[in-house]
């Protein structure tokens, strides 16, 4: 009654072998693989075939089946067709679709280079399907071939498989023959794993025939050998076989030990799987943990980045704001400065205006009133027919009128200059005639004051200036010189050519002179008429001279010593040689 379970166990054992045969086939496929590689290169222009062969070599069976099917749908040469079918059949076999595999294998033509492989595969599949009778012819066919490494499989395993078929069919004699043939070949090639299988199968063969004496040593041999290998399934089976054998011999303790060992191996196999699973779980967990950490880091990074961006934007905006503020602040300062300058200028101009008014109201008024009283005086003496005093009084009147006119002229010109309404045209001018013309008006008064006047300027001297404004300057300077020079004094005008294409004109008098402070005040740069507290329109005249000379690209300098005299020095441009 124990035989039934035993048989079942044996089935399990037997089933292991074809699988091993497949594994062996994989390692020794070099010739087939090389050929397939060559075929792949040869049919490179057929993309599906090429892909199928690539995946076949890579053992990616799903892809192999997809591309081989695509290739088969086309019209192919018989060679391509056979290879494609072979790929597909092998794929089916590896995926466990044995019926499909068989169909494909059967469809391969006999001209196929590895037709024996096809036959072998069919045999192995039939064996796996327990169609032992059908399988036998195939194995026999293969066994008849010569055993060379080039075949890519072991004849020993073929013999073994044939033996297995006989064993299952109960044809023990033939089974014994075949198994031993395989066993001997395995012994020769020292294939331990196959040997263990053989020992167990041989043992089973004898055990089935109740030849326990022959069977048991084989079981033991299998068991001993299994200890040396690492295959848990083999160890487990060997131990189970021993347990069954001992149980049948009623050595229950030993049997129990074997069974325990068997269970241990089974557990260890399971454990190994469990360990694997655990490890997998742990790995998954670790990966999940890592992923979590990574996610956290990513989110942290995001937050940091956002923070940094915010910081950058904020600081940028702040910078812009500061820049704008600074800009406006500077603008404000600039505007303030301009306003300040304008204020000062306005004050100055206001002062100038006041000065003008004071001149008009005081100087002009006094002049005109003097003229008025002079005229009244004249009239009075005329009526009384006192003619002798008239001459002097008339001269007096004329002088007052002259100075009043000069004052008015200066006022007018000053106003014109300020408002830029005067005609201004710089040209080449002969200096001597100009001086003579200006001096002409003063000949009489200089004669009257007994002033010795000389002009020492070469007739060829030429300056580049505006005629009328230059005349005005000369008039004023000469007027001043005469005014401040006592009777019997000297007034001299001379010119000297300086470097930089300039002419220096000096009007020198022997008048009362000026102090350094007065000179400084006169020459101070300003639009304002100097505020000489005691003075008359003289300040206006000099200021006008300065402004006009500046406009003529000239300059005014004063050399003076109180009590000895003054030299008014005008620097003027000369015309350019080419113009």
């Amino acid at each position: 009654m124990y035989k039934i379970p035993l048989r079942i166990y044996l089935w399990c054992i037997a089933m292991c072998l074809p699988v091993i045969a497949f594994a062996q086939a994989d390692t020794t496929l070099s010739l087939l693989n090389q050929t397939i590689k060559e075929k792949g290169r040869q049919y490179k222009q057929q993309p599906d075939f090429y892909k199928a062969h690539t995946f076949f070599l890579a053992k990616e069976w799903d892809s192999v089946m997809v591309y081989s099917m695509r290739q088969l749908e086309k019209n192919n040469s018989s060679e391509v067709e056979d290879y494609s079918r072979y790929f597909r059949a092998t794929g089916f076999a590896r995926k466990g679709l044995l019926d499909e595999a068989l169909k494909e294998y059967a469809a391969i033509s006999q001209q196929f280079d590895f037709y024996y492989k096809v036959r072998l595969s069919i045999g192995e599949i039939l064996l796996e399907q327990n169609k032992f009778k059908l399988a036998i012819p195939y194995f026999k066919e293969i066994e008849a071939l010569e055993d060379t490494p080039a075949l890519g499989f072991k004849v020993s395993s073929v013999a073994h498989n044939l033996g297995l078929c006989y064993l299952h069919l109960g044809r023990f004699k033939e089974a014994e023959q075949c198994l031993f043939k395989g066993f001997k070949m395995q012994e020769k090639s020292k294939d331990t794993l196959a040997l263990i299988g053989s020992y167990m199968d041989i043992a089973t063969l004898y055990y089935e025939q109740y030849q326990d004496d022959k069977a048991i040593p084989n079981f033991i041999k299998a068991y001993e050998l299994s200890k040396k290998v690492n295959d848990f399934a083999l160890k487990q089976n060997a131990a189970l076989n021993m347990a069954v054998v001992e149980e049948n011999r009623e050595n229950f303790t030993t049997a129990l030990n074997y069974r325990k060992e068997y269970e241990a191996w089974r557990d260890s196999l399971n454990n190994r799987n469990k360990v694997w699973e655990l490890a997998e779980l742990e790995k998954k967990f670790a990966v999940a943990q890592k992923q979590k950490e990574v996610n956290q880091l990513i989110s942290e990074n995001k937050v940091k980045k956002a923070e940094r961006d915010r910081l950058v934007y904020t600081s940028g905006i702040l910078l812009v704001l500061i820049a704008v503020l600074i800009y406006f602040y500077r603008q404000k300062i600039k505007i303030n400065r301009i306003i300040e300058a304008q204020k000062v200028k306005l004050n100055d101009l206001n002062a100038a205006k006041d000065r003008l008014f004071s001149i008009v109201s005081h100087d002009l008024r006094s002049s005109v009133s003097a003229l008025k009283s002079s005229n009244a005086y004249l009239l009075q003496h005329y009526e009384q027919k006192e003619y002798e005093v008239l001459d002097e009084q008339l001269h007096n009147s004329s002088e007052i009128a002259n100075s009043t006119y000069n004052l008015l002229d200066n006022l007018l010109n000053w106003a014109l200059l300020q408002t830029k309404q005067a005609y201004f045209n710089m040209e080449a001018l002969r200096l001597l005639p100009l001086l003579e013309q200006v001096a002409y008006n003063y000949t009489a008064i200089m004669h009257a004051k007994d002033i010795h006047f000389t002009i020492d300027v070469p007739a060829r001297a030429v300056v580049f200036a505006d005629r009328e404004s230059l005349k005005l300057v000369l008039r004023n300077l000469l007027d001043n010189a005469i005014k401040y020079t006592a009777g019997g004094g000297l007034i001299k005008i001379d010119a000297a050519v300086k470097k930089d294409n300039k002419v220096q004109l000096s009007i020198t008098d022997t008048g009362k002179g000026m102090t350094a402070e007065v000179i400084e005040e006169v020459l101070k740069e300003s639009d304002v008429l100097i505020n000489k507290k005691n003075g008359t329109g003289a300040g206006l005249g000099l200021q006008l001279c300065k402004s006009i000379l500046l406009k003529n690209k000239g300059a005014l300098a004063i050399e003076s010593e109180p009590g000895k005299g003054t030299a008014m020095i005008i620097t003027l441009q000369m015309p350019h040689k080419n113009g």
Binding site: N413, L416, Q421, A422, Y423, F424, N425, A428, L429, R430, P433, E436, Q437, Y440, N441, A459, R460, V462, R467, E468, P575, K577
Partner: protein, 247 residues
């Protein structure tokens, strides 16, 4: 030597009187005083002045400028003119300048300014206003030689010149009646003289052939009207071949 003929265009009698006094005192001949644009045009063409002194404002309008424009528009009719104005107003000046006046006279003016303005106008008009050049006292025009004499300006008709003799930096200009010293180079004068009438007979002499009375090649001598004797050098004898004037 003749007086320069001046046309005065001025509507204020006080001003024109002052101007006339100056002109008369300096031996100018005033051919007329016009007080309006119409009178001015009539006088300008009838009296043929050598120069016109024009007040810009006549009767409150800048008719002086209109006058200048009118005489400038006729080719060959224009003579030197001087603008007279009491205003230094820029706009008026800019407008007046467009008529290319030959001088400006700003009121109030003195004698010297008037004389200088006339002198400048003549120089400028005949294109000899080169202020940077050597000093000169004469201006040559196709008809007249204008000579500065004691501040005033005189004119000598070119046709009246008998001969010109160079003496150092000066030229002696001899007419039938007078003799002037002119500060101008011989070459400069020669530029303006008609080459059909004036000939160089010596490096120092230019003669007016129409005033020559006798040529004595053997003595290297030319006798001029008024008894003047001029040297004829061998180098310049060639001109005789080109002339057929033998009286």
């Amino acid at each position: 030597m003749d007086k320069l003929k001046v046309l005065v265009i001025e509507d204020t009698p006080a001003e024109s009187d002052r101007l006339l006094a100056v002109l008369h005192a300096n031996n100018f001949e005033v051919v007329g005083v016009a007080a309006s644009f119409k009178d001015a045009m009539a006088l300008y063409y009838s009296a043929t002045p050598d120069i016109a002194i024009v007040d810009i404002f006549l009767n409150g309008n800048p008719e002086g400028i209109t006058f200048a424009e009118a005489i400038s528009a006729v080719p060959g009719a224009v003579k030197p003119f001087i603008f007279l104005t009491s205003s230094n107003d820029r706009q008026i000046f800019e407008r007046a300048k467009l008529t290319h006046p030959f001088s400006f006279l700003l009121k109030p003016f003195n004698e010297l300014e008037v004389l200088y303005a006339i002198e400048m106008a003549i120089e400028k008009f005949y294109g000899q206003h080169e202020v940077t050049e050597e000093e000169t006292n004469a201006t040559v025009s196709p008809e007249y030689l204008f000579i500065k004499k004691n501040k005033s300006l005189k004119k000598v008709a070119i046709a009246d010149i008998v001969y010109i003799e160079v003496e150092e930096r000066y030229c002696n200009v001899i007419t039938q009646q007078e003799k002037f010293v002119v500060m101008i180079s011989l070459n400069r004068i020669a530029e303006y003289l008609n080459p059909a009438v004036f000939f160089k007979t010596h490096r120092n002499f230019i003669i007016n052939i129409s005033h020559a009375s006798e040529i004595i090649p053997s003595d290297n001598l030319i006798l001029m009207q008024g008894g003047h004797k001029v040297t004829l050098s061998d180098k310049y004898k060639d001109f005789l071949k080109d002339t057929v004037i033998f009286k």
